[in-house]
């Protein structure tokens, strides 16, 4: 068997498929420059090429593809939000995600698990009833379940009343899923690259060139390029790119930490979340428990780990799953989340003409990768703001028209 595998590996009959065309020199000019080569930037490039025929596009990333928050999230996909605008938007994302492996010819390991948000207080139950009604009204599967039904759905949870925060009920969202997040970035990047989009890794944008209030190009550490339009999709660095474009954003950059356990035999099919306990946990296809919690208590441009995070998270995980006490932690990391005041994203036009923003993705960005890419591409190609993302405009903060998703977007805020 090992020899068979080696023979296969060295055989010229089965060459490894290259994900992207190798990085060449930057062209002197592009139709569109996308700053940020994460899932959102690559998806935007993909839909620009596929649906709008715009292939003279460069995606610039200061690091490597999907090395930022695309590869650092806990890969949860759901649409059980609180505001109708949010539910509609994320629901389109789920529909795109379901067909994505086929569309990109790349297995993103999309796995529909069912998403369970626990309520430990009457206030949490009340918000969940609200969410359920909004969701059902918009055709999104969502149900409030009480303890007996929850015990049937997720028998692994400790439902004892003799714990610090006994579970009262839960919001059950059957379409809740997980996917392989790296594969989403690679799939979009590969498909975009095959249609002619250039992907330039290790290329840092240092300035944005403007003339008469319009974008005319970007300066990078590999030289300047001219372009007709720019898109920024840079998560934690959103404020820094916005500053180059000449405006401020309602964003604070706050680290979000996560970790995985050693691999275990499959025992947990559902995705379990508790806002009160600041916990979310799911089991990946490799058997690792993927665990995350609340964002750090203050802003920071750093991905350093902290002991407080691990102590707090583990204490709460063990209240829900006491039998995990002997399990070892395998890896820990963090990402820089671009948090907005209303826990909704920012997409659309900016004060700088022809510079478009896709930011404010805080702790909820991965699940929106396909729909954000598709609708941002539509905006860039046509210049018209699609109705689906219009409520998420930057100027909503000037008009006091915030979209409060705090009750549904976040854990422990």
């Amino acid at each position: 068997m090992p020899f068979g595998l080696l023979k296969y590996g060295f055989s010229k009959k089965y060459p490894a498929r290259r994900h992207f065309a190798p990085r060449g020199d930057l062209r002197p000019s592009y139709d569109v420059v996308i700053i940020g080569g994460g899932g959102h930037g690559l998806a935007t490039a993909y839909y620009l090429a596929k649906e709008h025929g715009i292939t003279n596009v460069a995606v610039l990333d200061k690091g490597y593809i999907g090395g930022g928050n695309t590869g650092r999230n806990t890969a949860i996909i759901r649409s059980n939000y609180l505001t109708p605008e949010g539910v509609r938007f994320y629901d389109e994302s789920i529909r795109l995600f379901r067909d994505l492996s086929q569309e990109l010819d790349y297995n993103i390991l999309y796995s529909e698990r069912g998403h369970v948000t626990l309520a430990h207080t009457d206030a949490a139950l009340r918000t969940m009833r609200w969410r359920v009604e909004v969701n059902k009204h918009l055709g999104v599967a969502s149900e409030l379940v009480l303890r007996d039904e929850l015990a049937r759905l997720v028998p692994q949870i400790n439902l004892s009343e003799h714990v610090r925060y006994p579970v009262l009920g839960a919001l059950h969202h059957p379409p809740g899923s997980i996917a392989r997040h790296d594969a989403v970035a690679w799939g979009y990047g590969g498909a975009a690259s095959r249609m002619g989009v250039e992907i330039h890794q290790k290329t840092t944008v240092t300035d944005i060139l403007k003339k008469n209030g319009r974008v005319v190009g970007v300066v990078t550490d590999r030289g300047a390029v001219a372009c007709a339009k720019t898109v920024q999709a840079v998560a934690g660095d959103s404020s820094l790119i916005a500053k180059m474009a000449g405006f401020r954003a309602p964003i604070l950059t706050v680290p979000l930490q996560a970790c995985v356990s050693q691999p275990l035999k499959p025992f947990l099919d559902a995705i379990v979340v508790s806002g009160s306990l600041h916990v979310y946990v799911s089991q990946s296809d490799r058997g690792e428990l993927v665990m995350g919690g609340a964002t750090d208590p203050y802003p920071l441009y750093s991905t350093r780990p902290s002991l407080e995070f691990k102590e707090g998270l583990m204490a709460h995980i063990l209240e829900l799953f006491p039998f995990l006490a002997e399990v070892k932690l395998l890896r820990q990391w963090s990402g820089m989340a671009d948090m907005t005041p209303d826990f909704s994203p920012i997409m659309g036009l900016t004060p700088l003409e022809n510079h478009y923003i896709d930011a404010g993705w805080g702790t909820w960005g991965f699940k929106a990768t396909p729909v954000a890419g598709k609708r941002m591409a539509e905006l860039v190609a046509t210049g018209e703001v699609p109705g689906l993302i219009e409520p998420f405009r930057l100027s909503r903060f000037r008009e006091f028209k915030l979209l409060g998703e705090k009750g549904a977007a976040s854990v422990g805020h």
Binding site: R248, A249, P250, L300, Y301, S302, L307, E308, F400
Partner: protein, 105 residues
């Protein structure tokens, strides 16, 4: 454990403190425009640099100012707010509050 040096209580675990946002100049809510007010309330510099911030020692409800590097998390200096604010800020109420739907003068 990360330690923050409180001007009132001395060095304490940073988990005892609450972050209160960047120190910004406060516009007069009665006189400023909507743009100035939303700028103050919602928009952030979010700079990757040494930044002046409000911090509160929760147990003693003591607010002070810290200079912190937001790229390295190094706390450069902490000092009482009285060092930066030498006089009380007054925002006198307008003679007559604008009626509902009426534009600001």
């Amino acid at each position: 454990m990360k330690v923050l040096n409180c001007p009132l209580n001395g060095p304490r675990n940073i988990s005892e403190f609450a972050y209160g946002g960047e120190v910004e100049s406060h516009p007069d809510p009665h006189a400023c425009s909507d743009a100035e007010w939303t700028d103050f309330v919602f928009f952030e510099n979010n700079a990757a640099a040494v930044v002046r911030e409000w911090w509160c020692h929760v147990a003693t409800a003591y607010w002070f100012i810290a200079e912190r590097d937001t790229t390295t998390d190094e706390i450069v200096r902490t000092y009482p707010a009285s060092e930066a604010f030498t006089q009380r800020m007054e925002f006198p109420a307008p003679a007559r509050a604008p009626a509902r739907g009426e534009d600001k003068p």
